[in-house]
Structures are given as C-alpha cells and as structure tokens.
Symmetry: C2
Subunit: 352 residues, 2 copies
C-alpha cells in the first residue's frame, strides 16, 4: 500500500481490548506500511501502551492526541450526540474535518461512529443515508454487503443509493472493472421481495448500472456470483450475525465429532494447516474494517473484538479508501443522475 | 413413531426428482413406520415407479389417487389458484379437507402449497397468516425458525401470532416443556429492531409467554439459546439461504485447502467418519419437512431437492403433527387471549 502523508486518526479507546490491542495495531501499521497514525484517547494510557511496546517518541510516525471522554459500546447514538463533545470518536472525526487526518478509524460503538460521522463530516451531496459496507469471503474472492447494520428502516431510494455507492466502491477500492450488483430478497424472480425491495428493484434497474443482476438470494452473498449485495441494515445485520452463529455452530459440532475418536483426532492434526489456511481466508482480521459509505470523508468501523492485526488492516483500508477517489466518484455519479438530461444531438439513424 | 390410521396424502409429482424419489420415500415410510400413504399424481407414472421398486398391490399400505395436473416450481400462487383445479397439490389438500387423509405433504412449489392450503383448509381461527416453521440444527438440538418464507410483508400482529404458534409447536411436537422464544432483530437491546419488530416486541411481551427472551440476533438461530426464533418470511428466507450459501462456501474452500497437500488429504480420510457424522447432524433430510403452521389442517413442505430419506421423514413429521394436537392448542390459546377477561375473585391480600 501507499501510505498517506497525513495521518489516519485512530480511536485508541474503542473496542473490547482497548487501548492495548489498538495501540499494537497502530504500531504494526506504522512499521509495516510506514503509515502515519494519530492515536486519539487518554494520553497517559496510550503513552503507557506505547512505552510497553518499546516505541520511543519519534521512532515511528505515531503521535498521540488527548481526548478526555470515551463512548461505551452500549451508549445510544442519540445520547452520544447530546453529550461527550470530547469523546475519542468525536475527536477523530473533528481531526478529519479540520484536515489534520485523512480518515477516522474505530473498533468502538459503530452506531456512535455513524452518528458522529454524519454530524461532523456530513454526507456526500445526494446521499440520504450512509451505509456500512462489509467485505465477506467467497470461494472466488470477496463480496461487498451493504448496508451491514447502520439503517434499519430503509426506503427504496436509500437502497438505490446503496447500489450506486457499492458499485463505485467495488470498482475503485476492490479494482473490479464491472462489478455485479444484486438486490437481496427472498428469491431471484422480479415478483419476489417485499414492498420496499420491489420498488427499489425498478428504480435500480432504471439506473443502467453495467451489471445489475436484479434480485439475488442469501446464497449469493457467499457464492461469488455477486460482487455487491444491497439490503437494508436490519437484513444485513441478520445475515451477518446468522453467518457468525452458523460458523461457530459448525466449529462446535465438528469439534464434538472429532473428540469421539482417536482416528478423527489424528486426522484433525494432519488437516490443521488446511484448517488454519481456511481460517485465515475467512478471518475478519484480514479485512480489518468496513467503511461508512456516504460520509463526506472517511470513517472506518472495526469489530469490537478486533485483534491488533485487524486494527492494522483497518488502518490500511482507511488509507486506501482515502486515496481511492470513491467519495468524489459517488458525488459526481449522483449529481449526474440527478441532473436533468440535456437535449443532445439526435443519434444517427442506424442503417441495417 | 405411531402411524396414523388414515393415510398421509403425498404429492407424488412435487420436487426436482419426482415422481421417482418421492415414491421411494413413500415406500420407505410405509416399510419403516407402517404409515399409510396416499400417492397423488399421474397414476400411470406413479404405478410404474411402484412396480420398479417391486411393490405389489396390497403388499404395503400405499394407494394411488390420480391427479391430472402438475404445478411447476416457478408458477405463481395467484395463477395456481385460478387454474389447475386438479393439480396434485390441490388434490392432496382436498383429501385432507374431505377427511380421507390426515396431512398433505409436498416437495413442490411451496408458495402454491401455502396458497392452496389456505384456500382449501382455511386458517385456524385467530390466525391471519400461516407461517413455514423450519427446524435448524444447533450444537444442543434444534431451533424452530418461523416464518421461513411464506409472508414477506408482515405486520406486528402477524409476528405475535407466529410467536404463539411457534411456542406451542416447540412444546407439543419437539417436547420442550418451556420453550425459549425470541424475536429476530439486529441486536438484543429493546431499542433495536425496525418499526415493525419494535411494535411486535411490546405485543409479544404482553402475551406473558413462559420464557420470552425479547429481541435476539442472527447468532441465536444456531447457538441453541433460543428454541423458537420469530421473524417475517423475507428475513427468514434471507437467513436460511445465507446459511445454505455459507455452508456451501465453507465446504468449497475447505476442499481447496485440503487439495493443496497430501498430508491434509490423509487427514481428511481419517476425519471422514467425523465429517459424515456432522453432515448427518445438520442434514435437512433428517428433518424432512416444515409444517405450514396456522392452517386449519396439516400441510408439510419439503425442499425441492428432497431425497427419498427426506420424503420418508416428511411423512413421519406429517403423521406426528397430525397426532400432536398443535392446531387445537393454537386455536384454544388464541381464543383465550382474545376473550375479554372475566372479573374473577379479588386476590387475597398477602401478609408480609
């Protein structure tokens, strides 16, 4: 990756293992990519973590910015907006707004991230709702799922904007030339879906995306047929959490079956490198973070349980996003679509 | 299981491998359980399959009822209702209505099953919408998910009825004394959910179910914490199809990793019995079929790709359901809740 000249603002206090693991992730990113990082949080605690890791001032492109408050995982976004003007998340976004950082990254309260991101940075013109865009593993690569949980009650127009934003993200950040886009419903036929998705289906079709597949099913999240899967945040959250639960259940049941025989235990030992390779392939830590698509700036949310590796990769994602031109492309695309069509020259009559 | 005296009506023409596999399943059920089965469909084709399997007339409690029409998998329920009065699915329900069969079973078009079931049998008094109740594997047993796909646009009141029906089903058919019931949303806090589920949450809470957990997440479908998970059919379908897709993707990716080394291949051979045991545990065929809860009668839908074993088990489920008293219990429960509360004697004052 190419590091950005300006730092990524990282919420040092966000996540289940903050600040220790978050600071470790920042150090890894600074070492591996030379990426400047602004650690935002309780200065004394953050500096103690840096000292623990043997980071001497000036040895890495890491600086610390004090923030006196911390937003808890279960605080409601509404309460956060009213209080806590000096929370670490808020300060991260303030730094982006002031042009002192290229992106805000947090493994903390994602609802607060979304609310504060929208408050401080605002949304891209033409975007009514920002969406969390998550990458999920498939046998062929990755699928972008959005919205992964930010907006529970969506109108058709919101889903349309998610489709536009997701397609541009897949092009610009994942490097897919003509991403396939699908609307997540309960079947592939046009008659499937609920009232909201049926209306959205017609609207998205009228956009003329390069490769819109129409309605897709839950299977298409993981089979690699669809690069971008569009849904509201309620459905996206259910799909994600169901996946996590199923993966855990499969692990637990396989473990039980293996425990039943020595033969299977030996087989497991032999297969362990294959299991590890598989786990790396599907490991969330490799993705690191999900962008809040539609913010007028860059905000990246990470899992609360993020490891140092996940934080490191979230910083990488943040820097890549900041350099991708995605937000400008979204703005231009939505403006172009909203503009009245100018009467151009008539097409030449095609001679058969 | 205890066979019913009256037969189960089985749609011989429904499913991807009909009539061959369906007839095989009927024969297996008749042999294994002594369950009488009425095979409904094209008489010549069904009898040819019976002959192929060496079933001589009278040797098993299997009879054939001719139906001249077949409903295709992709026919819309609306079209099916207007036409095809002599479809195999319709005739199955007619037989139940006429008291000649205890249940209708089909691996065919589930939308047509639902529509024809409601048309011919009607719904239990107090039930506005019937729901598909699917059993999903967990490390501790099974979870009932409803609605698994019948009703895409649900009102809060429908979700309330699903909760009541699901709880009674878990009690009566799965034998769980006090089933835990959860409402599927995007988080466990009361503030989570969309407009519909937030309203449903308050209504279900007011029912006074023995063990209502409130909001649950996608994870709870598979972790065994929740016996009955309630959602609309759109969300239920997405959760199910996402699960199928993820399970397939995990298999495909594991296969690729195993193929990379001889060591892993050997390990796989040693682990194969454990994998097989796991697959049996999660195999849909062991469940066989999902009841249409809320019909005033018994209708069981099976996967289109059902094996003979799945059909055999769907017949077992149908007979068990017919004998469970679930429908009467649902009717009584809803009537009791709808009845105005009679002014009873005042409770005695409790002495501290």
């Amino acid at each position: 990756m190419t590091a950005t000249a300006l730092p990524v603002a990282l919420d040092a206090m966000g996540g289940d293992h903050a600040p220790a693991v978050v600071v470790e992730g920042a150090v890894e990113a600074a070492r591996a990519f030379g990426q400047p990082v602004l650690l935002v949080g309780d200065r004394a605690r953050v500096e103690a973590e840096l000292a623990r890791l043997g980071v001497t001032p000036g040895s890495l492109p890491i600086t610390v910015r004090h923030a006196s408050e911390v937003i808890a995982m279960d605080e409601s976004p509404a309460a956060v907006l009213r209080r806590k003007k000096d929370s670490s998340i808020r300060v991260c976004f303030d730094l982006v707004k002031a042009g002192e950082a290229v992106a805000a990254v947090s493994a903390g309260n994602s609802g607060a991230m979304m609310a504060l991101g929208a408050l401080v940075l605002g949304r891209i013109e033409g975007v009514d709702r920002a969406a969390i865009a998550t990458l999920l593993p498939t046998p062929r690569g990755r699928t972008v799922l959005l919205d992964a949980g930010a907006n529970v009650d969506c109108k058709p127009q919101h889903l349309v904007q998610f489709a536009v934003m997701g397609e541009i993200y897949a092009r610009r950040v994942l490097g897919i030339r003509e991403p396939t886009v699908g609307l997540l419903t309960n079947g592939t036929e046009d008659t499937k879906g609920n009232d909201t998705t049926r209306e959205a289906l017609a609207l998205i079709r009228s956009l003329g995306l390069a490769r819109f597949l129409g309605n897709v099913e839950g299977r298409d999240i993981y089979n690699g047929n669809c690069d971008v899967v569009v849904c509201d945040g309620f459905v996206g959250n259910v799909a994600l959490k169901t996946s996590e639960g199923l993966a855990d259940a499969i692990r637990a049941m396989m473990r039980e079956e293996v425990e039943r025989s020595w033969r299977a235990k030996l087989g497991y030992l032999l297969m362990r490198p294959a299991f590890k390779a598989f786990e790396r392939r599907v490991d969330y830590a490799e993705v690191g973070g999900a962008p809040l698509l539609g913010l007028d700036g860059v905000g990246i949310v990470s899992h609360g349980g993020s490891s140092a590796r996940a934080i490191r990769n979230a910083i990488r994602v943040a820097a890549a996003f900041a350099q991708s031109g995605v937000n400008r492309a979204i703005r231009d695309d939505l403006a172009r679509r909203a503009a009245p069509v100018a009467p151009g020259p008539q097409p030449a009559v095609e001679v058969q």
